[in-house]
């Protein structure tokens, strides 16, 4: 059975640039780095002679699972990674959504670091997060991120009695 989330892994083109983006712009902390070029890694990812550079990033102050990190950034040194156009309406496409406190301040920092907004932040006017705000953006590698600023007073179910 699943015990907990371990991490979300993201393949990036340049580990140094990605660390700078996820740390300095988004506010995650670098927890650990390692290079992986060994038989178990090759079997795991399915490429003979795979060589990866890994950075584990964590959220400061947030509850952490046993893995100790939330995001795994991966640069493939070998094989050379390919790249396709990012399409959000694509079966198998993923996005990483983060809860934020100030969507406007953060979007400016991310744009300055090379992120591109899909559109301006929107007010959530329907559904269970009504009253909040959200925006989709792509990081410098085309990874889709979502920033969610929850409603100031999130509705909770009435308590019986």
């Amino acid at each position: 059975m699943i015990v907990d989330l371990w991490h979300v892994g993201l393949v990036v083109s340049d580990i140094e640039r990605a660390i700078a983006f996820y740390r300095d712009a988004l506010g995650l902390e670098l927890r650990h780095r390692q290079d992986q070029a060994n038989p178990y890694t090759a079997s795991l990812v399915g490429y003979e002679d795979a060589s990866l550079r890994i950075a584990q990033m964590r959220l400061p102050g947030a509850e952490r699972g046993r893995s100790g990190h939330l995001v795994e950034l991966i640069e493939y040194v070998n094989p050379a990674p390919d790249q396709v156009e990012a399409v959000r309406a694509r079966v198998g496409a993923g996005h990483l959504a983060l809860q934020v406190t100030d969507i406007d301040a953060l979007r400016s920092r991310l744009e300055a670091a090379g992120a591109v907004l899909v559109n301006e932040p929107v007010a959530i006017t329907a559904g269970i997060n009504t009253g909040g705000r959200a925006v989709y953006l792509t990081d410098p590698d085309g990874i889709t991120l979502e920033l969610v600023q929850p409603p100031a007073v999130q509705l909770v179910a009435p308590v019986a009695g």
Partner: protein, 154 residues
């Protein structure tokens, strides 16, 4: 500042099938809603977008403020495209779960359409040395990873 994870979102071809698959992993539906209001079209970047969304959470375990960990999204409009999944692809994502017995999960997941990339491998180097791990693809081609941490780790 980023305070917490809100969710990981996955675009799926068939929402009921995906809910059933992730149910095998112990994730339960918290909420299902259709999203076709103007704000959704702006958010996802497709005017007139119509999505059917399911929020899933661990039956037991932590929930952030969002109340869910996984958002499964079926695009009713526009028609989603599909490409072959490649691990060594810029912007490729995978979702890794800590599990307590990956061998026990395997049979049921394969019967439900999952494909394991290899047998579980022993982690012989790095910070999780002593654990076991495996990559697999869900029925929509999204890459999942299972990690059994080393027993000594706490």
């Amino acid at each position: 500042m980023s305070r917490d994870l809100w969710h990981v979102g996955l675009v799926v071809a068939d929402l009921p099938a995906a809910i059933a698959f992730y149910g095998l992993l112990g994730l339960e539906v918290r909420h299902v809603q259709d999203e076709s209001s103007p704000y959704t079209g702006i958010l996802v970047g497709y005017p007139g977008a119509h999505l059917r969304v399911a929020q899933l959470r661990f039956a037991e375990g932590r929930h952030g403020r969002s109340g869910h960990i996984l958002e499964l999204m079926q695009y009713l409009s526009p028609q989603p495209d599909r490409v072959e999944t490649v691990n060594a692809r810029i912007a490729a994502a995978h979702l890794a779960f800590e599990v307590d017995d990956m061998d026990a999960l395997r049979g049921a997941l394969e019967s439900a359409g999952a494909t394991f990339l290899s047998d579980p491998v022993a982690i012989t180097a790095g910070v999780n040395s002593g654990g076991r791990t495996v990559y697999l693809r869900d029925p929509d081609g999204f890459t999942l990873q299972f990690v059994e941490p080393p027993p000594a780790r706490s």
